[in-house]
Symmetry: C2
Subunit: 107 residues, 2 copies
């Protein structure tokens, strides 16, 4: 796609892919495992995973006969950076959202 930020937003646009990111969690999972928890086929999951991988949101490692996918959150940080840079122009609350989020997590 050659458009990194666009690929990231595009990847996050689909509900199945957002769900998959959550399901991957910290330990990761295989396409077959994910497919068992989703209402779509394993091949559909595989396609979604390849889009997530193209956006740099997941990494894959082959282990024997299975391929385990794990989350690589760097593009998420860049997405937030883009939003804050773009939105901070008009929106003070967005410019200060960082502090809000931080205080929300410490609460």
């Amino acid at each position: 796609m050659s458009d990194a930020i666009g690929a990231t937003f595009s990847a996050l646009a689909d509900p199945s892919r957002r769900r998959m990111l959550g399901l991957l969690g910290g330990t990761g999972a295989t396409a077959t495992q994910l497919a068992r928890e989703l209402p779509i086929s394993r091949q559909a999951v595989a396609k979604h995973l390849s889009q997530l991988a193209a956006a740099g949101l997941v990494a894959s490692r082959r282990e024997g006969r299975e391929t385990r996918y794990t989350v690589t959150p760097e593009p998420l940080e860049q997405a937030v950076a883009w939003i804050v840079q773009a939105g901070g122009e008009w929106d003070d609350r967005l410019a200060r959202l960082g502090t809000y989020v931080a205080s929300d997590r410490t609460a």
Copy 2:
């Protein structure tokens, strides 16, 4: 689409739409004005604007014979909130990104 966060990410996925958000700036603009700065037709711009409006990212106000669009950044805040909540699970830097952004803006 009935999927607010998905509509927001989907809207941000397209380069033309991201560009349009920047062009709208603080004062807003009409579809015709935007079309003059983009390599696409006015009607294409109008379609993009309707998608941005569907995501709640812009608001329109009719003024005589022209329709002026302005940015409404609330969905951007929700998008950041989603990313931080989802990504903070695995990524400490993302969890602290808020503070980073805030300090970056005050610098």
